[in-house]
Amino acid sequence: MTHDPIYSHLRELSWRRKLSNAEEAELRNWLAAHPEAEADWQAEAGLNAGLGRLADVPVPSNFTARVLQAVEREAVADLRRPQGKWLTWLWLRWLPKAAFAAVIVGVGLLSFHQVQAAHRKKLVESVAAVSAVSSLPGSDILRDFDAIRALNPTPAPDEQLLAVLQ
């Protein structure tokens, strides 16, 4: 078998249809220059002829009428069971998706609810802790708060004493 582009092209054309006179002449010229491909071409041509001779499969004379009847039957059947068909379509196509979406939404809502409940519980606990304190000091204790705060709470280090200690 040859991979020559001219031969390959003509051979591929011959697979689909009879070569035109010009193509046939081109092939003959090419084969004259490449006699080693003659046997391959003979086999190709023989197979083309064989495939070309395959008979058409007989089609019954009432084939078209039967197709039209079948189409009519289908149309009537579709009209008779539109709801059933719609439900089947819905069941097969959308119900699984809808169920999956519902599960996701349900899990989301449940999680949100639980987070909210936990938050509320913490709040209640902290309020209870505050209310458990029996007495708080009166507001008088805070009267001089700012003045006391402004005072330097730690005296300056006694440098001399530190030196003696060392």
């Binding site: 591929e12 041509a45 023989g46 495939l51 001779r53 008979a55 499969v57 197709v67 189409v71 289908e74």
Partner: protein
């Protein structure tokens, strides 16, 4: 097809008339059972009518039609594989030496010639039947002059180079199996 999309029954009848033969040929060569091929061809046209609204005007009708035929053929072949159903006309193990069904030869005249060509055709049908499905379909569609390699590629869902490779491999197998007949020149020159 545009008229069929609008529900024109006459246009649909015309389409069926035009394409029933090529669809039957493809179905028979894929299924090797005349009755099943007939039922399948009918199903193909019913499907065409039902799916007419989905037909894209940009694609060629025959490409779309043979794509439907191919899908239904493959479904049927898969169903057979699953159920291991044997049709009445399919060769039974004890009949494996018998040729596949032959159809009337309208191209040859004399009885001896018919006999010879009948035998040769049976051999070709047998060799074709033994090819893998995609190679067989590519070769059968290749004989539909209406379809280009690009269109055959679209029907089979692969590239043009892949189609040519499939056809080439299929034909190599056929040439190998039919070597004695090809050598004898019994089929003569290409028509």
């Amino acid at each position: 097809m545009l008229l069929v999309k609008q529900g024109d029954a006459a246009a649909f009848t015309e389409l069926v008339e035009k394409y029933k033969q090529p669809v039957m040929n493809v179905a028979y060569r894929m299924l090797h059972d005349a009755m099943e091929a007939e039922d399948l061809a009918q199903a193909v046209f019913v499907q065409v009518f039902k799916s007419a609204h989905r037909y894209q005007v940009s694609s060629k009708f025959s490409t779309w039609l043979f794509t439907i035929a191919r899908n239904l053929c493959l479904n049927e072949i898969r169903r057979r594989t699953r159920h291991r159903a044997e049709s009445i006309e399919a060769p039974h193990p004890e009949q494996e030496d018998q040729p596949l069904r032959q159809f009337e030869d309208k191209q040859t005249a004399s009885p001896p010639e018919r006999l010879l060509h009948g035998e040769l055709k049976a051999k070709i049908e047998e060799a074709l039947a033994e090819l893998p499905e995609n190679q067989r379909l590519a070769i059968v569609l290749c004989r539909q002059e209406e379809l280009s390699y690009e269109e055959i590629a679209r029907v089979l869902g692969c590239s043009v180079s892949a189609i040519k490779s499939l056809i080439h491999r299929g034909r190599e197998t056929l040439k190998e199996k039919l070597k004695p007949y090809l050598r004898s020149g019994a089929w003569g020159a290409p028509e």
